[in-house]
């Protein structure tokens, strides 16, 4: 049980839920951290092609210890492998793929997401925070579908889905869906639409721990 007091699913289950929604043949970038879990849950029979913004398409799982190649790392600088059919390219081409809207999905973490799809995930308001953005703004602005994978609330129980982000923005209005331990929410022109609730959580429960108005699909 988390700070919100509700009985949510595990991160692994949320990752699996995201993976279930990504169609066969998609080109997908997974952000560093929890989003990387999604790769572990690609349903049988689907071919998903993973992109890493440092210049890899067709990224495979982590290598065995005796197969580590430090010239083959992912965006988190950890060693990875290649699958047959992979390609390698420079950073300008890699971000060309991103900015040019060729990626079907990116999955990113979030500090906050707003009701209109603004994302804040790179910088806190702490006085001594050092601005480090990496590829987050490019991914958030460029992928066709920007999925946020996050706990529904912060560790102290504050909502992460809010009317308006209080943290500095990463992108404006580009998030398409949010997958949390409690629900799946689509961000539409009409606002936040709850597509799914996890078992045992009611709409009222969810609204209670969410900082912006929710609706159910019409």
């Amino acid at each position: 049980m988390s700070a919100h007091g509700l009985n949510g699913r595990s991160r692994a289950d949320t990752a699996a839920r995201i993976a279930a929604d990504i169609p066969d043949g998609s080109y997908v970038n997974l952000g560093i951290g929890a989003p990387e879990l999604v790769a572990n849950f690609v349903p049988e029979g689907r071919e998903i092609i993973f992109h890493s913004e440092n210049g890899i398409l067709g990224m495979g799982p982590s290598p065995n210890d005796n197969e580590i190649d430090w010239e083959l790392v992912n965006a988190g600088k950890k060693p990875v492998t290649l699958v047959p059919g992979s390609s390698l390219f420079d950073s300008a081409d890699s971000f060309g793929m991103i900015r040019g809207q060729h990626l079907d999905y990116c999955v990113l973490g979030a500090f906050q997401v707003s009701a209109r799809g603004d994302l804040a995930n790179w910088l806190t308001n702490a006085d001594d925070a050092i601005p480090a953005v990496g590829g987050a703004m490019d991914l958030g602005a460029g992928a066709r579908n920007v999925i946020v994978f996050t706990d529904h609330c912060t560790r102290s129980g504050a909502p992460k889905i809010v009317d308006s982000c209080s943290y500095p923005l990463t992108t404006v209005g580009t998030v398409t869906a949010v997958y949390t331990d409690l629900c799946v929410i689509d961000i539409t022109a009409e606002g936040l639409v709850v597509r799914e609730l996890v078992d045992g959580v009611s709409f009222a429960d969810l609204q209670n721990v969410t900082g912006a108005p929710l609706t159910l699909p019409s």
Binding site: G25, I49, L57, P84, S86, S87, L88, F89, F95, M97
Partner: protein, 242 residues
Amino acid sequence: MVDKLVPDIAAALDGIPDGATIAISGFGNAGNPTDLVHGLIDQGAAGLTVINNNAGNGHVGLAALLEAERVAKMICSFPRSRDPVVFESLYRAGKIALETVPQGTLAERIRIAGVGIGGFYTPTSVGTPLAEGKEERVIDGRRMVLETPLHADYALIKAWKADRWGNLFYRRAARNFAPMMAMAARTTIVQVQHIVDLGEIEPENVMTPGIFVDRVVHIPVPTDENALHDAEQAARKAGEKQ
């Protein structure tokens, strides 16, 4: 499973509507997707805007598409060739529009369409008729004009090797405009001489990653446009003599 191979040219060109913008790669014979272009004549789409470095040679390939009056507008750097009769007569008859773009600006305008950039400033064409009407500013002491992205609905390109994911390898000087066109087009259609297994093109040597490719058709022996042109000219001369 990702499988971008299609059985034949008709399947490769399926759905191209009238009025589409088609980017066609190639520079001379190198990288020229002549079989797809001939297929496009059969396919029937008309009122097309075509992006190519040139505007056809003789009465074959792109020139044949022009001669069939399927093209409303050409965007190219050099609408001249050894035998430019088809384009010139259409142009002089007012039957085709022309936008002339410096070759490097053409390449970059196509590229930025593919990589999501909205415009760029370049010194090329400053102070010339091709800069007329373009926003100009001085950057680091150099006069520059603003150029805009050149998107395409379809790209027709030719490659040497492809796999089922659509990864491409081009031989020799056949690369030219193809990588940018593959990025800039909503649907990229490739005729390829060799279909190879996944992984057979070394990851480092993939020139166009499959993410930019939609349909691949295997044409093991592509039409040689130069040879076809020469044969066509010989036949024409023989006809004149009779």
